[in-house]
Amino acid sequence: MSLKNGFVIVSSAVLLIAAVWSTSVPAAGNAIQGLLMMGEVSAANTFNLNLKKPKNPNAPPWEDGIHDTTNEATFNLQPPLEAYEGLPRTSFGNHVDWVKALDEGLIKPRWDLLDSNAEPFVMDLDIVRPVKASVPDVVFPHRQHTEWLLCSNCHPAIFIPQKGANQINMSAILLGQKCGVCHGKVAFPIETKTCKKCHSKPKPADWQPPLSEATLKNPWK
């Protein structure tokens, strides 16, 4: 048998396995389709060069890429979807609306380690933070936060408890500071679908974005 034939046999076998695999795993099917397309378009010009879409949200522990599948106990862990059954869904983060789930009593997380009847001290105080950009102003609701957290989780380490006393901007948040200590980690993430959860107070109808200095002083105007 020539070397050439050997190659054909081996590679056909690999492709066959891949084909079988791709029919059972949809994500792999896409990968292979993408591969075939790469034969036509150079890899540098694939359609979504930078788009990262989370595949298979809420994967069970044994398929999530961080748990060791040679560890038997991995298979005793609960798959998230089993726990989320009946909870209100969203399309980001855990894909669960935790605020709604709590408000509707669908989950009853303890406020105290041992006492399952202890109740949080909920403070209903909204702080409005006007934003210079065209996006709606930010409303920070104490209510939803004090359902989960103690004042001392935020004050004074993350925020000075005084309206407007803290400098906050999106870059800091995206880097994991200020609101980003929790949002983007455990509380809902920062992405297009969630902007309006924080930016929830619409601007007045006659609002115009301020012009930048470079435009005001533009000598060619």
């Binding site: 560890n71 983060g93 041992l114 999106m170 995206l174």
Partner: protein
């Protein structure tokens, strides 16, 4: 696509394809970990244990953040609490609950130590991790200084 190069040997695209398939299967896929899962591996690997995996989603169904992050003193920092088994069996950190009273106890090593060996301490699914480019840093000028 195979047609073009057929006259030069039909095996070529197959070999290429086979290589590419192997490549795809082998290359680390972006992790599909549940949002908020923490791998903790300051010491585990060095002691020959799998890294510990802490699932936020599972625990927040049972406890408010306050219980761990205020009462039990977990800092908001993955890997930042220097958790050890000595502290756990003294009833600190995970050991405040995994003591056979509040939750199953500490002899179930493999329930916590379930991470893939060699993987570093990491907070999974974070927005920062999903950014295509580093977050934009605004000019330090007056513009952003005044927030009122």
């Amino acid at each position: 696509m195979a047609l073009k190069i057929k006259h030069r040997g039909a095996w070529k695209p197959f070999v290429l394809g086979a290589f590419a398939v192997l490549l795809f299967a082998g290359v680390a896929q972006p992790s599909k970990a549940e949002y908020g899962d923490v791998v903790i591996n300051n010491y585990s690997d060095a002691a020959g244990m799998r890294p510990a995996v802490f699932p936020h989603w599972f625990h927040r169904i049972r406890f408010r953040c306050k219980v761990c992050h205020a009462d039990l003193g977990f800092k908001f920092k993955a890997g930042g609490n220097q958790i050890t088994m000595a502290k756990i069996i003294d009833g600190k950190f995970c050991g405040a609950c995994h003591n056979g009273e509040v939750a199953w106890s500490v002899e179930n090593c493999a329930m916590c130590h379930s991470g893939i060996p060699g993987t570093p301490t990491h907070f999974h699914g974070s927005t920062l991790q999903r950014l295509v480019a580093p977050a934009y840093k605004p000019l330090p000028a007056k513009k952003t200084a005044d927030n009122k």
